[in-house]
Amino acid sequence: MPSTPMIGYAHVAKTFGRVAAVDDVSLDIAEGEFLAVVGGSGSGKTTLLRLANRLIEVDSGTITVEGEDVSRIDPVALRRRIGYVFQSGGLFPHLSVADNIGITPKLLGAPVGDIAARVDELLDLVRLDRSEHRDRLPAALSGGQRQRVGVARALAARPRIVLMDEPFGALDPLTRDALGDDYRELHRKLGLTSVMITHDMTEAILLADRIAVMRTGKLLAQGTPAQLAASSDAYVLELLRTPRRQVERLNERLPLGGAA
């Protein structure tokens, strides 16, 4: 990669107590790339994500965002320019959908009128009905709608980078599929650089350009699905076998050319 990466991890390490959550990880994410970080629970994938916007501080190593060392950027300013989608939404229950979406522009001091217009634009973007949803409280939304609002909130301040922590994990399969496709489309249309955490290899293969596999804090492998398939690591190959087995079983049980 000749140009500077959008996000760059260089020999990054982080320990909690005696547990090495992230252990000497180096990883570059290019502009416009959609990277999925796959791993089981405790693999350090969420820690890796949070180090990028300094929700967690590194112990050693360097992280750059758009070429800048993040340790030299004010963490609050850094977070305002990076979109973040939380697991199961993380919406503020006392704020309406519109206020949730408009929060980062508001923190940045955008005029009220601009925020309102931006909120409407974002509701359209994540395909939620403006008049129906704008003034609702999060409690009145379905899980999928909540996650769409979460995505809209992450995009509100026009970030170039979006970090997503298992964004679609808690959703039913149909909603999950629709939302994944919609996000992938947004990623392309807006020219975003996206990093998504998931434990689901199928989701990673279907949505991401590249996949990074983590286990016990270490980065085992990274690359396109095809590159990963050539890996010599047993764990990586095992992860890749699962979706393939699912497909085979599906084909076996669900005759092609049927109604589905």
Partner: protein, 523 residues
Amino acid sequence: MSLLSDPRWGEALSHLPDYLGNHVRVSLAALALGLIISLPLAILCRNRPVARSVLLAFASIVQTVPGLALLALFYPLLLLAASVTLSWFGVSFSAFGFLPAMLALALYSMLPVLRNGITGLNGIDPALIEAAQGVGMTERQSLTMVELPLALPVMMAGIRTAAVWVIGTATLSTPIGQTSLGNYIFAGLQTQNWVFVLFGCLASAVLALLVDQLLGLIETGLRQRSRARTAIGGLGIAALVAATLVPSLARTSASYVVGAKTFAEQYVLSSLIRDRMQEAGLSATARSGLGSSVIFEALKAGDIDLYVDYSGTLWANQLHRTDIKPRAELVAELKTTLAKEKITLLGELGFENAYALVMPRKRAEALGIRTIADLAAHTSTMSIAGDYEFFSRPEWAALQKAYGLAFRAQRQMQPDFMYAAVASNEVDVIAGYTSDGLIAKYDLVALEDPRNAIPPYDAILLLAPKRADDERLQAALKPLLGKIDIATMREANLRASGNDANSSPDAVAKWLRERIGAGGAGK
């Protein structure tokens, strides 16, 4: 139906604007101060476990101090503070009434506010605090935009508890000079006016319930994010505060305050003096139910203008004298000593209200007891009851020493209940008051004091330093001096101990004024 048609309800009702207004004012100020202190503390220590437990422990300890004691403690503390600021900065403030009551009640309100504040803030889903950080909030923005709004319903529940506690405890601020709904209860208890006691209890209960319900409305409004409920609750509270405060603010404050201690005779005398002053064209109010040690300090500081004390009480408690002098000599010496503190001893009312050991006449005769010396032989099998201060007074020590008294047991009692207790042999002897009408009513006898262990207790009129040269006031009071003999005071006290419409202090004072014919002389 006789209970409902009792004219004392009307009398109680006529005090309501004053008592309720003052009650709400001191409660409101205390709650506001409590919130101003507790809420920032709760916010500051929400992430500091050590500070949190120290603070909660402190607030819990405050809570275990009985309300009356806490209120009483603030009076000497503030007196000390006032004397310090006077000597350092040349400014003094009143340590009486509103200030100590407000401070003590504010301290009392801290525990529920702190506890719920901390619980509310700590109970927020950590994922939401993380989300607040993630969208780019500073710590302060996270607090004001996310944590506080989310903790508000729980905090409101704490404020609600605090409000009810403060309103209830504020009834105890009467003895330190803050007018409150407690005035009904204290006065009623002292003069056995159960209508007043009931009225005071009902009024403070209704006030507490109303405030509780309105704050509850705000709380559920916040919880359910219903603006309408919150607004109705808020408007209700505002209306309640306005309705209770406006009538009492509209009243012009009286220029003279007549103090009274906590027993019936004092209530009657303060009413008598107030009426006499009003008759002479001076505006006056009575501030009754003041603690025995509070009242003298309040006079000295000018918080009250005048009151009736007893020569022997001041002799022992203020001058710390243990020797005994004849009545006239003692008053004369008291007068010169008090004059050094610029307090005017205007003169004697005429009667003496001394402590006396009292027992049923028949029993005394059967045992051949006429004097305290006779009693001494029997004390090892007898019990004695006295008022709340008697056993810690120097007279008791002097009595014990002079006659070698050693009772089997001693009990403290509400003064008005002592006489009935000794008449029914609940206790064997009581330390009663010579001017009490109940001595005759229950056929009791006051034992003689041949060794003069008990000093004379002439009722004397004291004026505050700032009234030393107030000739108009002194002229108005002169007609009362020397007019009330012991028989008259006993009968007045007996009337006041009754439990009917004619037994209220005001009614007895009116009777007393007609009896002594003091009316008109000052005009």
